[in-house]
Symmetry: C2
Subunit: 414 residues, 2 copies
């Protein structure tokens, strides 16, 4: 995989140039790239038509084709997204907790660029622009490996970016696309420890699992969400219905949508018909445990249901004895993404916040808020469900690292 | 590897108990464990004698035997180390940057326990006590996999810990030792993503490489250090000699010792004999480039020398044209651990701090300071040379993670 090694070397070399760019230079580049996307939208749409034609010929349809499709409006969305990144505060350069040690050494932790970031993704060409914009602003070069279905579109977009970079006297290898979409090149990329500092997979559970299993480069695992809502005995039931409905159906295909609903036994008889009818009216299929089945007509839930991220109009519903059973259930089946308790009980709200071990834990709010924009980061590169480096929504800061800088005046160690 | 899975399950379950322990409970446990180590030092020394006997029979000698050996003084060192950890501030529970969003959601990032930490190490039994103490204080359970040469010693120490844990009503699985030291169990441990949250290898380059290559569990890469000192034209030469000598010989076997010395050409003729004679007087073998060879009698340096972590009384010495050549040389050969510039030139000091991409970058001080204790953390679990999660010396804080906690009053996403 000589080709991948060369891509890695060029990215590392380009990353040293980016690390020296001023905030103004980075912002100008982002705005110029956005303009170039708008100016060349016909070229992108023509390339996208080739990808669409091939995918349709292969018999692919539905949501996949929708994700792959670019039109003027979506290209404008990519361009304005890049301009938004230009407006974000530059995360690079901040020095954290600089302190003088007793021996006179002055030690601080400085936020610096990661270097080279690898992004492996599927068929959404907007990730190409997103990832480039965020990585550039965070001071890093990016190596992109998108799905084969979007190769013509991605290649057209990256060529436009590279043209702008070169016109500004920057190395075009600030962004590179791996054009060979074979499994072998993907695996080679995942083992390129010498040149890639971090790998972020963006896509379905299969893609993420493959990266986790094959990569020797450090990975930030993103995205899989089997999210829970626990409605406690003391819940404001009106809020509980609204939050459950919102968490399930406002956008069922995304990772922060809720999949399982746990209900305290004391309110089961009253609350279950209420919430389940609201869900059914929103076209949600209920998969209930025995108590739920005794209260309404629904599909019986199996063991598998508790562990499933439906990403669809389906919700598993279970009655629990108390908050402890709810927490144990979540510990057993959750993917560690987002969970919410609906309660008016102070002690239970704190217990849930303390004992549930997920990236985002809510009291009386929808799990759908787990999102970089909703959290106020102004950007999002993904949602980490692992515990190293970043946990939860990742913005620009999570695409950076730190180094210690130490000022001395001749100190030696005794 | 059924056995490893059971160890993982038990650790995860124990970690939930530790996460609920108060700071006082954790400190009491640490102090009690320290007392038990002192009270049972004869048992430990007897177990250690078995390990030593076996290693000596296998023909092992020298530094390895020294590292493996425990006596009363070293056991006292382990015990007082645990008491020191008890005195450190508890990193758990701090909430970072809690903010109210425009929709009324209150979002904060809370420092919480990692869960289960895996430590893979070689023949130093003091790591057994160190790692347990730091992981417990950081709120996590630990799974230890030490070298086979120390198995009797490690097993004796862990049994003492477990006895104390049980006597305090805590699960003994807060610390577990993998007694089967086969390669197969180590590999199984490295792939135990469901139960182990992070894996930290402590040992030589071979061990670390094996963990990086085989683990699917997130790894923090520690330790390999090919550290550089660059003596600029304007350097205070007295400081430069003292710092070089300190960085090379104060403790040559450790990762923050310097391996390569780069010297600005303008001072080569004057400075090289000065620094090399001082090094030679301290029994350091000089491996020099052509200019160095022309100035004194030394071994010619090969390409391999620039990339070698000697961990010994050897130093590679090279003359460079200017600071840019020094930085490029470091970028090419460094392992990203620690590098120092010795200079009186302001612009060059800032350039070096900015452009050298290592965990710790020094101006006018010895690289030997890259250490959790010297940085004022009061502890150290290792020195990270990767860029994710932690970079540089890792203390208690680096053994924790965060989660977002969100207080709402019925918010749903629009």
């Amino acid at each position: 995989m000589e080709e991948i090694v060369i891509i890695g070397q060029k990215a590392k070399s380009a990353s040293r140039m980016i690390a020296k760019m001023s905030t103004e230079q980075k912002n100008n580049t982002l705005n110029n790239v956005a303009k170039a996307l708008r100016d060349n939208s016909d070229t992108i749409i023509a390339a996208n038509a080739l990808d669409l034609k091939f995918s349709i010929e292969m018999g692919i349809k539905g949501a996949f084709i929708d994700r792959l499709t670019l039109d003027k409006a979506r290209i404008e969305g990519m361009a304005s997204g890049l301009c938004d990144v230009a407006k974000l505060e530059d995360p690079i350069g901040e020095v954290l907790s600089m302190k003088q040690r007793p021996n006179g050494l002055i030690i601080g932790q400085k936020r610096v660029a990661m270097g080279v970031i690898g992004i492996i993704y599927e068929a959404r060409p907007n990730v190409t622009a997103d990832a480039f914009g965020l990585c550039l602003k965070a001071g890093s070069a990016v190596i992109l490996r998108g799905g084969k279905e979007a190769i013509n579109t991605n290649s057209a977009i990256v060529k436009i970016f590279q043209h702008v970079l070169e016109s500004q006297g920057l190395p075009k290898e600030c962004v590179q696309l791996i054009e060979d979409t074979s499994r072998e090149t993907a695996i080679a990329m995942m083992k390129l420890n010498k040149y890639i500092d971090v790998l972020i997979p963006r896509g379905g559970a299969g893609l993420i699992q493959s990266v986790v299993n094959n990569a020797t480069v450090p990975v930030i695992e993103t995205g899989v969400g089997n999210c829970h809502i626990f409605v406690d005995a003391s819940a404001n039931q009106e809020h509980a219905v609204a939050i459950t409905l919102n968490a399930k159906v406002q956008r069922p295909g995304v990772c922060n949508a809720a999949e399982s609903l746990l209900i305290h036994k004391d309110i089961a008889e009253e609350f279950i018909p209420k919430v389940c009818n609201a869900l059914k009216n929103a076209n949600v299929e209920i998969r209930g445990d025995e108590i739920v089945q005794s209260l309404l007509c629904c599909t019986p839930a199996t063991e598998e249901d508790w562990a499933t991220e439906y990403a669809d109009y389906i919700m598993a519903v279970k009655v629990v004895e108390n908050i402890d059973e709810a927490i144990t259930h979540i510990q057993t089946y959750s993917t560690g993404h987002s969970e919410a308790i609906i309660t008016e009980n102070y002690t239970n709200s704190q217990k849930f916040l303390n004992e549930v071990d997920s990236a985002a834990v809510y009291v009386n709010a929808s799990t759908r808020f787990t999102d970089g924009f909703e959290f106020g980061f102004g950007a999002e590169i993904g949602i980490s469900t692992q515990k190293l480096h970043a946990r939860g929504p990742m913005g620009l800061k999570e695409l950076t690292t730190t180094k210690y800088i130490i000022y001395g005046d001749g100190q030696i160690r005794k």
